[in-house]
Every structure is written in structure tokens, then in C-alpha cells.
């Protein structure tokens, strides 16, 4: 009898699970794919908080984008590709016009969604990650690797190394290792670094670390034997902190380690304590710290008790990155509203907005991001928009910016982008758009 009742209850509940709630008409739906559990949660949580808080800010302070309120829903991916696909399918059709855009926050999920989003006509924003060749908007019409790809990151890292060793001629014969997360994310920079190694004559060794990255003893043994001049770290989550600790254990100088921008946040160095002092990492333009927009968040979100994070963590690197990511998406929708009207827009319309996004100094100042970001301009042929970065160093308490701005050298990255994206277009039978005819 009890069993029958349970079955009945389950049937009713599962039936209800597919009901879509009646959607309000003047809302723009934005899905948040995040991970607050699992091996990568330490880095996933602050990022997701930044994203959530910025959307909240837009609603609380401005009442939405030109009166169109943002409706957001979070879905936990756990950094797993199949869960990410499930989350995307769950959320893509919600709201009056479907998802405005999607941020998968995982290179693996980005790869799996690239084809789906193009079919569904939903832009996929992969800020500072994703596939590097998707910079080519003529082939990847719906991918937006805004602010920088891994190939730009690799180029910037090598530029900084060049500066530290004292010139391009000194680079010859130097040994540079890449300690990378053994997944599409970690492997992305390898072809670029191989190109640069050939060009500058340094010796390049990739060293893989298996998911999730807590086991690095043998890799660091190899590093201790080989004594590379620099170790680039392409890790995420627990892998970063482990790398710093292992480096200390084999007495590899931390100031010869340069992490990518995903390996340069507080959770990556804090667990290692003093051992992390001197560790360097790239910045995806912004670093830690508070800017005018944070004052707004504290006033309109946290003062009302709607903040997602602990107030003390507002302004950390990954929190800020989540916020920037959300802001770029929101500005894409705002730009699209100029053309399509102040109403909820479809993914296809938002794509136009993102492709014509142009954030000048003035606009960034209005948004409260002055000093945090440099101007960014997206076009049909360039979905990256900006390829600048600096280097920061951990002093035990906070991140200090130690370099000027570097701009990734397009003459290095561009041939590779063209080659790989042309291959993708041929594989998938995509006819590249003629960017000179786009308006």
C-alpha cells in the first residue's frame, strides 16, 4: 500500500516536473551554468557569485535592461560535459524568448555545445576560455571568446618571459615547460606554444596532469630533473594549489611559474600559504580589487540582503571575472535592443548585439568598470575583441600587478586561427560568412 502511494506520488511529481511555469512577458531569460560542487568548486563558486550578483544588480539598480527585467536560473554542471549538455537543454527554451546567451564556464562543455548552439541560434560566450579558433566569427558565428583566447594567453605569457630574460635573443635555448590540465582546456595552448618555440628557438615541453589534478608528484619530479627556466601553469581548481605546493616541495622557484588567468586567483594560492609567495599569473585584463561598480553592488544588492557571496569576498579575482562576464552579456543584449527594440530578444538577435558590441572608455566609465577593463570592440571577423593582459604576482596577501599591458601578437596567432577554423568549416561543411558584407 505504501509502495503504491509512493509510486503515485512519484508519478504526480514527475508529471509536474515538465510543466513550464507561466512566463512573464517582459523578461529576458539568461541561464547560468555553474558548478558549486565537485573538484572545481573552489574556483567555480566565486565566479558563479559574481555572475549572479551582477544580474541582480542590473535588476535592482536599473530595473533590468531598458525596462526588460533579467530572469536567471542556475544549473549545476559539476564541470561534467554531459551534465553541461543536460543543463543547456534544460534552460535553453525558458523565458518568453528562450535563452539570450549561454556561458558554459568549461572548455569541454563549450566544445560539446558549439554545434548545438549554432543550430539553436543561441550565442555562446566563452570569456577567456573555449576554443581559440572560434575567434574567427566568419566560421563560428555563435561563439564569442571575448577578451582573450588561450592562444593570446600563450603569446602574452611568452612575451612576459622574453621581457624577464631580457630580449628575444636571450630566449634561444631556454627551457619552458607547460604544466597543463589534461583536457581540451589544458591542451588548447599547446599548438600556439609550439609555433612560438619554433619561432624563438626555446625548448618547449608539455607536461600533462590528469583530472582533477591532485596527483602531481611525478610531474614535479620530471621538472626537478629537467630544471626548466619557466613553468607555465594551465590548471583549474585544486590543480593550481597543488602545483604551487609541489613546486615548493621540490624547491622550484615560484617566481619562475606563470599561471594562465584561470590559475591566478585567491583560492589557487591561499591554501599554499607562504609557499605561494612570488607565484605569477596572467590577468584577463582585470585583477582583484574594487571599482565603482562594486560600490553599486554593495549598495543595491548586498544592502538588501540579496548578495550571493560572503561580503568579504566581493572583489576577488574570480568574483570580478564573473561580473565582467555577466556585464559583457548584458551589454550585448543592450546593444541588440538598439536595433530590435526594447523587448525580450531571441538568441539570434542578441548575437547581432554581441557582434556589434563596442565598449569605449566612456561607456566603461558609465558602467563603473573604469580602470578594470580596456575598451573592447567585437566585429564579424574578430569575436575576441581584445587580446591584452598583464602579469600579477602573489605577495602572500594579495595580487600585485607587476607588468605593463601586453598585446598578443596577431601575426603569431592569426595563421593558426585561420588554419584550424578552416579545417573545422570543412569538416562540418560550414560556408564561412563574408564579413565584408555584414552590417
Amino acid at each position: 500500500m505504501v509502495r503504491n502511494k509512493l509510486i503515485l506520488a512519484a508519478a504526480i511529481l514527475s508529471g509536474g516536473a515538465f510543466d513550464s511555469p507561466a512566463a512573464a512577458q517582459n523578461e529576458q531569460f539568461i541561464p547560468i551554468l555553474s558548478y558549486r560542487t565537485g573538484a572545481y568548486a573552489v574556483n567555480g563558486v566565486p565566479y558563479a557569485n559574481g555572475v549572479a550578483d551582477y544580474y541582480n544588480l542590473v535588476n535592482e539598480r536599473d530595473g533590468g535592461i531598458n525596462g526588460v527585467r533579467l530572469l536567471v536560473e542556475e544549473c549545476e554542471t559539476g564541470y561534467a560535459t554531459d551534465k553541461g549538455v543536460e543543463c543547456y537543454e534544460r534552460l535553453k527554451g525558458k523565458g518568453p524568448t528562450g535563452a539570450a546567451f549561454v556561458n558554459p564556464l568549461s572548455t569541454g562543455i563549450t566544445f560539446a555545445l558549439t554545434e548545438k548552439t549554432a543550430t539553436d541560434k543561441i550565442p555562446i560566450i566563452t570569456m577567456g576560455y573555449g576554443r581559440a579558433d572560434s575567434k574567427n566569427g566568419a566560421v563560428f558565428a555563435y561563439n564569442f571568446p571575448l577578451l582573450g583566447t588561450y592562444w593570446s594567453a600563450a603569446d602574452i605569457a611568452i612575451q612576459h618571459v622574453t621581457k624577464e630574460v631580457g630580449g628575444v635573443d636571450k630566449l634561444k635555448g631556454k627551457k619552458i615547460s607547460l604544466l597543463y590540465h589534461d583536457s581540451p582546456y589544458g591542451k588548447e595552448p599547446i599548438p600556439m606554444l609550439q609555433v612560438l618555440a619554433k619561432k624563438h628557438g626555446f625548448e618547449f615541453t608539455p607536461i600533462p596532469v590528469t583530472h582533477p589534478g591532485v596527483e602531481q608528484k611525478s610531474q614535479w619530479l620530471a621538472i626537478r630533473q629537467n630544471r626548466p627556466d619557466y613553468v607555465l601553469v594551465w590548471g583549474w581548481g585544486v590543480m593550481n594549489g597543488t602545483a604551487v605546493k609541489e613546486a615548493a616541495a621540490v624547491a622550484y622557484p615560484r617566481d619562475k611559474m606563470i599561471g594562465v588567468w584561470w590559475s591566478g586567483a585567491e583560492p589557487d594560492v591561499q591554501p599554499a600559504g607562504d609557499q605561494a609567495v612570488g607565484y605569477k599569473a596572467l590577468m584577463l585584463q582585470h585583477g582583484a580589487g574594487k571599482f565603482p561598480v562594486h560600490a553599486d553592488i554593495e549598495k543595491h544588492v548586498y544592502a538588501k540582503g540579496k548578495g550571493a557571496s560572503e561580503p568579504g569576498k566581493v572583489g576577488e579575482v574570480l568574483y570580478n571575472r564573473g561580473m565582467v562576464n555577466a556585464m559583457l552579456g548584458v551589454e550585448g543584449v543592450r546593444k541588440a535592443q538598439e536595433k530590435f527594440g526594447k523587448k525580450p530578444l531571441t538568441g539570434e538577435q542578441v548575437r547581432w548585439g554581441l557582434e556589434n558590441l563596442n565598449l569605449s572608455e566612456v561607456r566603461l566609465k558609465e558602467l563603473g568598470f573604469e580602470g578594470m577593463l580596456k575598451p573592447i570592440k567585437i566585429s564579424c571577423s574578430d569575436h575576441e575583441g581584445a587580446r591584452e593582459g598583464r602579469v600579477q604576482q602573489w605577495d602572500g596577501k594579495g595580487w600585485k600587478i607587476i607588468s605593463d599591458w601586453y598585446t598578443a601578437n596577431q601575426s603569431d596567432t592569426e595563421p593558426l586561427v585561420d588554419e584550424v577554423s578552416a579545417k573545422y568549416a570543412a569538416d562540418k561543411k560550414i560556408q564561412p560568412r563574408d564579413c565584408s558584407k555584414e552590417s
Partner: protein, 375 residues
């Protein structure tokens, strides 16, 4: 009353040996197949509840069908032949990567012999089936230790397959056609000139595969070979004494099981993910398949389906529920709750019915047969 077989006489050998000798079973299966083949596509095509969005097809039914197929494969080995395997994920990966290589063209330069083997890109259907065949070959190789070791020891030996192929597909760039990121894209799904694109088409494609393989597997396990497997499972020495060759029985079980798992892997990669990396077939996938078999019922084809539904769909339901009911919980809490409830359910189920859902269903059938006075 509902399930009384009185009056169903079998007058021919054929009737006696039918897959579903009971009329009610045939009717139930007929209805189920009609719903699956006709009902679901029609409802989905006209977007009638619960198919208002593509979610149900894309994110629930498609992975369910493919994983149910893989669970059938795992069940043949674990449930029917009694050889515990933790390498199912590896065999899915072999199916997927072999199908990918065959679908995009194979080129093996044999420089020291002075020539190269080149196979042009094969049609998708052929590459999926050949991918299964490759998995079967590898399955036989990794099944050889089963002649000497059994039980948990064998499970550890098959674990070797899992780790080895995880490593191979990560490390050997030839398998990924030298893709810079190690992530590969499936070729376009073309079958006899028709391109499979929409979720409905993908669903039907997988459904055809699953139905065909389920019927084949059901017939296999009823026949001579299946009886040999079960004899080996129940007591290998006794089986040997009555004239069953353990070598043949065990290796065929490995071959058939790996073939089905390999095909499922190719479908998972080509039809569901479209673009994948070795992590899609990690050790977690192997464990998931083993749990499907155990929860669904060892030695039951239908149990594989129920097990797949339980392991795959129930967590998603648990995850969806709070939002759908409007309970304001953070995604973090929901996910942790999902783990807790799902884990407790597995414990409860295995304590109450260690033989899994298949046994529960057959008890239900027994009770229906004696209804209204079951004892």
C-alpha cells in the same frame, strides 16, 4: 485476473519457445513499442505536453536509450556470465574512437614496410557497427585473463582496460586526428543519403538501434550460448563437467558484451555529444553502467532499461524538483540534496530488494497473476 494465463494453450513448439509466451506480455510490449516509435515522435513533432520543449527528447530520452543499450551490454557480461567488469567505459570509448577514425578515414603510414594503409571515410552506419566490432576484439583480449581469475580480481583486471584506454585516447594524437585540443567532432550523421539532425530523428535512430540489439540480446541469452554463460556464472566447475568450454563461453560473453557497449559508445559520441573528449568515457561511466546493471537486476534485459532509467533520470528529477515546486534553494543545496536522497534510495532499494528492479517487477507480475488474493 488481469494477468491470468488460464486458457492460453501452446499447441506448437514455436509457440512454446516464443520470446514472450504470455499474451499480456505481448500486448504490453506492443503498446510500449507503439508509444516509443509512434507516440513520442508524433507528440514531439506537434510539441504536445510533455514535449513542449526539446528538453525531454534531447536531455532525457536520448541519453537514456544509449545508456540502456550500454547497460544491456554490461548485463550480458556481469549479469549473465558473472564476470564483473569495471572496463565498460573503456569499451564505449573504443567504440566511439574507432567509429570516429573509420568515419573520417584511416591512414596508417607503415614507413618501414614502404607503404601505407589508407581506408577512405566509411558511411556512418558502417563505422558505428565496425566501432562495435573493434570494441569486441579488444574485449576478447581483455577477457583472456578471465580464464584464470574471477570475481573481484577480474574486476581489477578490467580496470586496467579502463585506465589503459583513457591514457591511449588522451596521449596518442593519431586517434584524435591530431586535434590540437584533443577534443574531436563527430562527422555528419548521414544514413543512406538522409541526414539525421533534429532531436526526433536522433531519438528514432537510437530507438531502432536499441530495439534491434535488445531483441538480439534477448534471443542470445535464451539460446544455447546464453545457457552456457549462465552455467558458467552459476558454477564454472560444474559447467565444465557437463561439457561447456569455459574458454569459449567466457570469451563470447566478452565479445558480445563489448560489441554492444562499443556500439552504445559510438552512439553516445556521434548522436548525443557530437564532440567529445576521453573524460566522457572515464571510470565514472564504467561505475555508472555497473550500478545500472546491479540496480536494474543482474541477468535481465528489461532490468537494464529500468536500471538505466533509475541511475540516469532519477538524479535529474531530484535536481529539477525543488525549482519546479518553487522551493527557494541554492543550486549548491539542491545538488547536495540530490546526492543524499539518491544515495539513500540506492541503499534502501538494495536492502529491500537485493536483486534489483527486475525482481521487483517479476514479483509484481506474480501478484497480479494471483490477484485479488495474492499470498
Amino acid at each position: 485476473m488481469l494477468y491470468r494465463e488460464a486458457g492460453q494453450f501452446k499447441t506448437t513448439y514455436a509457440a512454446d519457445m516464443a520470446i514472450f509466451p504470455i499474451r499480456q506480455d505481448r500486448i504490453a510490449l506492443g503498446i510500449l513499442l507503439t508509444i516509443a516509435f509512434v507516440g513520442v515522435p508524433v507528440l514531439a513533432n506537434f510539441r504536445i505536453w510533455p514535449f513542449a520543449s526539446e528538453y525531454l527528447l534531447w536531455a532525457i530520452l536520448l541519453p537514456f536509450l544509449i545508456l540502456a543499450l550500454a547497460a544491456i551490454g554490461a548485463n550480458i557480461l556481469v549479469g549473465y556470465c558473472g564476470q564483473i567488469s569495471l572496463g565498460s567505459g573503456a569499451f564505449m570509448a573504443i567504440g566511439a574512437y574507432s567509429a570516429y577514425k573509420l568515419g573520417t578515414g584511416v591512414h596508417i603510414p607503415l614507413a618501414w614496410l614502404g607503404f601505407a594503409i589508407s581506408i577512405p571515410p566509411l558511411p556512418v552506419l558502417a563505422s558505428i557497427l565496425l566501432g562495435g566490432l573493434m570494441a569486441a576484439v579488444v574485449g576478447i583480449l581483455f577477457g583472456i585473463p578471465s580464464l584464470r581469475i574471477k570475481g573481484l580480481y577480474l574486476a581489477v583486471a578490467t580496470l586496467a582496460a579502463q585506465f589503459f584506454f583513457d591514457w591511449v585516447f588522451l596521449r596518442v594524437p593519431w586517434f584524435t586526428n591530431y586535434a590540437p585540443s584533443g577534443s574531436v567532432n563527430a562527422p555528419a550523421l548521414e544514413f543512406f543519403g538522409l541526414t539525421v539532425r533534429t532531436p526526433i530523428e536522433r531519438y528514432l535512430l537510437c530507438l531502432i538501434f536499441v530495439t534491434v540489439f535488445a531483441v538480439l540480446a534477448k534471443n542470445l541469452v535464451r539460446g544455447n550460448l546464453g545457457r552456457q554463460w549462465m552455467a558458467i556464472r552459476d558454477m564454472d566447475i560444474a559447467a565444465e563437467l557437463i561439457g561447456i568450454r569455459p574458454l569459449y563461453a567466457k570469451l563470447t560473453a566478452f565479445a558480445v558484451s563489448s560489441f554492444i557497449i562499443g556500439v552504445a559508445g559510438a552512439l553516445w559520441a556521434f548522436v548525443y555529444l557530437g564532440s567529445w573528449e576521453p573524460l566522457a568515457f572515464s571510470i565514472e561511466r564504467s561505475l555508472q553502467l555497473l550500478f545500472m546493471v546491479i540496480i536494474g537486476g543482474l541477468g535481465s534485459i528489461m532490468g537494464s532499461f529500468v536500471g538505466a532509467a533509475f541511475i540516469l533520470i532519477l538524479p535529474i528529477m531530484l535536481n529539477l524538483l525543488p525549482t519546479q515546486l518553487g522551493v527557494p534553494l541554492s543550486t549548491e543545496t539542491i545538488t547536495h540534496l540530490e546526492f543524499i536522497i539518491f544515495g539513500s534510495l540506492i541503499c534502501y532499494l538494495l536492502i529491500k530488494e537485493p536483486h534489483g528492479f527486475a525482481r521487483l517487477i517479476s514479483i509484481g507480475k506474480e501478484k497480479l497473476r494471483l490477484w485479488p488474493f495474492p499470498y
